[in-house]
Symmetry: C5
Subunit: 376 residues, 5 copies
């Protein structure tokens, strides 16, 4: 029961599930023992899908083929096929699948370890004939008011692109649609442009998260100004944490993209470079927006606190005025309530009205004093 009570005080955002999430985003590789052979494939993090699902899209300017495959072995031919192939894997807990792919395509053991070990920082690593990119995919979970984070790993080869996600559901459907319908440039360009298009979609989706956080900030702020309860405060605090977590995911993404733009990696054609510069610009904007939102949320908290201080001051003034006026008067009337035999002033008829007038004068003096002190 005390548990339930606490829940009442602690809104959803700070319940145990939430904590697991926040702390999970801080601490990497829970299950992996220190000292394990590097390159040991251990899936860390929560398994988010029941079954790993592998699909591919194979296309060149003139054709598209698309299918879900049962075994990744079906993707082996893409290594040397002249078409552009995009293989997407949803679910990371079948480490064997990743190992088979990695061994066929010649990926470094650490690369494979990073694919299955979630909570990596965003990064770009260049290998001899492929490029490894890790990006965070963010989504606003409106039910729990928190940022949902998933790791997207991309291995970009000369004519193929592998993407690994923690679960089904992503922001790539418009890109898939463009491939299917041959809209835009994506069909006529190589795997590098496809990789760019996916990065662009990932970065763009951050703006939706920012918008949701912005809306929530606005709502909480109005709530804070309207009533002085603790609930809005606690939720604003939770939002601040979401921004900490988001910031932690976003900064490395920006740096990784800056590295891609700067290094002019061989994997990207000069035409695609121009577009990468654009993605990088957007990532910079996301970072700036997170910082601004942090400022805005901090400002709201500060405003609330200073309003609290001001209100306490006002409340105190009312109390002090009331007490200062009536406590002395109560003392005075107490005097004449005493039962001493010898109290001559009780016997004269004009004593009572005189006392009433004196007390009125005293009260008036007090009011005048408080007005002078600008308390009234």
């Amino acid at each position: 029961m005390s548990r339930k009570k606490k829940r009442h005080l602690i809104p959803d955002a700070i319940n145990p599930v939430y904590h697991a999430q926040v702390m999970g985003r801080l601490v990497r590789r829970r299950m992996k023992e220190p000292g394990l052979t590097p390159g040991t494939l251990v899936h860390t993090g929560v398994q988010k899908v029941d079954r790993v699902r592998t699909t591919y899209l194979d296309f060149d300017p003139s054709h598209v083929s698309e299918a879900e495959v049962d075994s990744v072995d079906a993707c082996f031919p893409f290594k040397s096929s002249p078409t552009v192939s995009w293989v997407n894997v949803d679910g990371l807990h079948e480490v064997d699948l990743v190992r088979r792919l990695g061994e066929h395509f010649g990926w470094h053991p650490l690369l494979m370890e990073d694919i299955v070990g979630t909570s990596q920082r965003a990064k770009v690593e260049e290998y001899e004939d492929h490029l490894f990119v890790v990006l965070p995919m963010l989504r606003w979970d409106a039910e729990h008011n928190q940022v949902d984070q998933e790791q997207l790993s991309m291995v970009l080869g000369d004519r193929y692109l592998f993407t690994f996600q923690e679960r089904a559901g992503d922001v790539f459907n418009p890109v898939r649609e463009r491939i299917r319908s041959a809209k835009g440039r994506v069909r006529s360009r190589g795997a590098d442009y496809l990789a760019y298009a996916l990065m662009d979609a990932v970065v763009d989706s951050c703006f939706q998260v920012l918008e949701a956080i912005g809306d929530r900030t606005e709502a909480l702020e109005e709530q804070l100004l309207a009533d002085s309860g603790q609930s809005a405060m606690i939720q604003l605090h939770a939002l601040k944490r979401e921004l900490i977590a988001m910031r932690r995911a976003i900064w490395p993404m920006r740096d990784a993209l800056a590295q891609v733009v700067r290094d002019e990696e061989d994997m990207f054609t000069p035409e695609t470079e121009v577009f990468l510069r654009d993605v990088h610009d957007h990532a910079v904007q996301v970072v700036e927006s997170v910082e601004v939102l942090r400022d805005v949320v901090s400002g709201a908290v500060d405003l609330h606190l200073s309003m609290m201080t001001t209100r306490t001051n006002e409340v105190m003034k009312v109390l002090t005025i009331m007490a200062s006026i009536f406590i002395p008067l109560t003392f005075v009337v107490g005097i004449y309530g005493m039962n001493f035999d010898w109290m001559p002033e009780l016997r004269v008829w004009w004593a009572y009205p005189t006392l009433l007038l004196a007390m009125a004068a005293l009260a008036g003096g007090m009011v005048f004093y408080f007005r002078k002190k600008r308390w009234m």
Copy 2:
């Protein structure tokens, strides 16, 4: 009605319209779906004019011609004309207009996307035969006490300059006047000098915004010191936000101008470079002023809070002194107001005056104690 009440507490600066503005400045591309083909022209932001209006100024040292055109096709000849042409477009929602211009003049799709997609960061991008500049145009909206922000895009070619604004009304009239009247250097120099002159006007206009914010800070600060209400506090908080938003617009502008100065872009002649260095200096000053204003506003808030704390302390002292003196006395007179049969002290004639003296002594002792504690 509760809505109206809240409005009373929340001054204009934090009403919904305001929020939409602040948040809008934080989050880019509301309407654009993640995953859309890059280079898709989608107008984002609020449409601020009814009708797009296109005007041009074509001049060389010996002549000037000026007109409003119905169709942008009328501007196509400027591509190869030997005179300097400045085409200004007010309103961005007719994306088709931008596309036609872009295709004729050979602009990159991402450049065109940036022109119509407002809320870009200030930036400078160099293309083969043209330079793309995005700058924020700031204006102080005295009615709502907020910074009004508009995106200015400039495409600088060899002999032409295109400017795109979100609405009519800008700070360029003095420049136009100088062209018409052949005052200053602008008529005798190329499009690059014209671009510089416009940048200079944009940066200069920031000083007017700063001045308005400075004046408002001053007014609010006096209000804060004079009365202890919450209204000035909330408005100061709103001003802090305006500074956050302004800072966000100004920093990238400074960096973009630094890049122009540093890179010695081919588009600018060495003579114009000297002037660009000057504009950059001014941008640095704007940035510094924003930082200083942030410090000043924060200082005002801190001062207010510490004055509140001091005042609460004073109020508490008054209350404590009053209560500590009179509550014990009231207790004492209460004792002799009791109706016990056997209270021998009530019967002797000197009891009453003695008690009065004793109470006076008690009160005097209290006053002495509080004086010693420096509370009085």
Copy 3:
């Protein structure tokens, strides 16, 4: 007794033992006099083991031999043996042992001084034919809720690796096991890969500390929200200190590893370089996590404070409402408790009920006023 009382207020985390630890981590070389000959071997810090214990693991792809030796002289042949030798020394107070080793293997006097002088910063120093690495080994001491820190010194030669620890017990057992069982790459690679494997284990163990701190933060935060006592506050404060101490240990470690990656030291083969890059990435993650945890702990403290302020405000309101309603009423009834002879209103029969009604009206007015002020 007063001592005991204070202890009650100050939880374990801030007791004298704790202080010695925190301050010990701040101040280096307590016992060493300024001005001593540099390179003088003086063991500083607390002696943590009774007896120095020296063990070695000597292996090549085809064999492993392992033993504990009584005298370090038994390790002298490893200097020129073609196998890879890993000598581990637990306990640093026998400075003579280190000197004999150093003289045989040709180590610089300052290197030897650093091995026995604990509380060094993490660092990497390159000498002609060996590399000196100092890293902190962190462990969460759940009993005292603090981070336990130990200095690990490594001297990496061409075919040998010496490790010096302050006490027995480390995170290297999995590595030892891999050597014994010839699992992974470690048997087939050189001493440099072994050094990498140990560094990896050290950095990985930091994540366990972070997880422990994360769990504790969470527990203290729930405690803070549930009750308003000072105990959770003081413990959160102690945790903040642990993070300061941890941060101090971790930042130099990151920089040292960055230096290894950047300098491409001759001691490491290019194959091992790839792995070092991975360790460096992990160190960066540790640093980021410490920063995030600092933000989280600070946020919790701030939230607590603002909740305190809000609660004080609420308490004040209740007091003010009660006092403002009843103090004037008490004054009024006091008036009619006075014993003046001439108080005509006491004599009329309707005076009493009228007064009761008037007082009810007064109280009602007060309630209405406080409701309007939103205090009730």
Copy 4:
């Protein structure tokens, strides 16, 4: 009258004059319209002298001549004279004077604009055959307790040096004296050494301002500790602002001097370079001192606030103790002041002494309780 009242609360430092100054230091070029031709000479800022006064000092190792001239045309010959000439102009509002000089000596229009447009940042600009230096001259205005800021512009040619100040009165008299009396190196060296000597005097004068601020900080701090009024707080706040304004002037000065040292401008001989390095060192010290003073002032404010909090806590304790002891007792005596017919305890003779004892016991218990809680 309310105006006068407010003045009482707001010390001199925050009155309108002060505000104009602070804000004026933040906002540049009040009167200049955005869009004016660059290089338009417009005097901004307040005119501080009635009449522009032009003086020169012309010297070589063997002679000195000194005069005040009516027209700047008298200085034209200095352009090609073999002696070193220092022309000083006090007052900037006669823009025509600057234009004539500039045209004769071949200065860039922007340079001239910067001379007459005050509130420039400190900067160094290199032109083909002259160097343009802008430095702030600071002075402590003891009457208004604020930092007085003036712009010093220097144009350093091969054999001439022009200095422009906003008003008469400067820190250069010792330098003038050294020239007249041929003391030191200044007579035997070129114009560059003279420029250095002036810069040195400007930077040195900052130390006097710092000393004044330090003294004032000390005085205000003692005042803060001695009494708890708001006056010292407000003045400390005003001092904080002065430090913000000073910092804003000083940082660019340091950077400008660093640029001179780093660039090894052609205008300075290697012998003078050594001296410039010294000036730069002093500027760094000024910057550091400003930062330290900011820390000191902030610390004083923090200390005051925490003392206020502690005092409020103490005041509250006294109030609570008094109220908790006497309010229940007053209630008890109130009971026996009631006039019920049937109150048997009023009739027994031992009731009164028993009640007195019981009340003493109650009060004693309260005192014991508060002692246990360490409130007394």
Copy 5:
């Protein structure tokens, strides 16, 4: 007397002597007029010894000679002697002495000015055949609980080393002892190694200051937690200032040493370079420790403040509970103390016990309400 009172409130650490010291460390060159010829030798700061004392140590691997000299002229031969000579001067007010030395050994006028003008920042300046080093010597003054700072200037020539201190007493005795007894390397190496040995002693002595500050922090922290008085707070504040002053001295020292290591000055042999790298490491540790101590002290202040807030909240709750329970009851008994003729309830026998029961119920209800609100 009011002076004495204030002294009671302001502990030793903030008395006028202290202020002179803190401010003196902020402001340089009190007595020197701006505009004086650079290189003018003016002793600034407080004269700390009565008489300047000059001693020398002259040694080579095979001999040592040591003496105190009356006139510095006795040191002139060291310029060309083949032995290593270390001349130490205690006291700086005889500027003539420094001038004579400087002229003989060919030092730059600015170098000499820096020797006698104390409060220089730590720095390293390279001249043609000598190196000038300024370092702060710190010492903990346990009596006044403050950091005592003295300027050490070193001029390192090829075979000689001059050191200038403000007063007698330093941390170099162990070095002197090593020279006399031919222990360690110092006798067999050149003047550069001697300079290193002194720098090492200076940096090492900082750790003792840090230890003292650490101990004091600990003591004050325990005091803060044990009682809530202002004394510990004020002293902690004073300690914070000491850390500001120390930080200001230490950062430039670190930078100066970094410069020595980086520049590989010609004055130092490669063998000594290795040792300099070690000194620099220690300086970095000192800087880090100062930062950590600042964090620790700030944390202690924050903890104290939050405990104050919590305690105030508790005190308020007690007051509110007492007042809320007894003030209404007192009102009720007041009603029946009134002397109206017509108060029928006074006449019935069961009125009194009923009222007592009703009041008990009211009090019980209050207690229940406060328990529900978790105030009790």
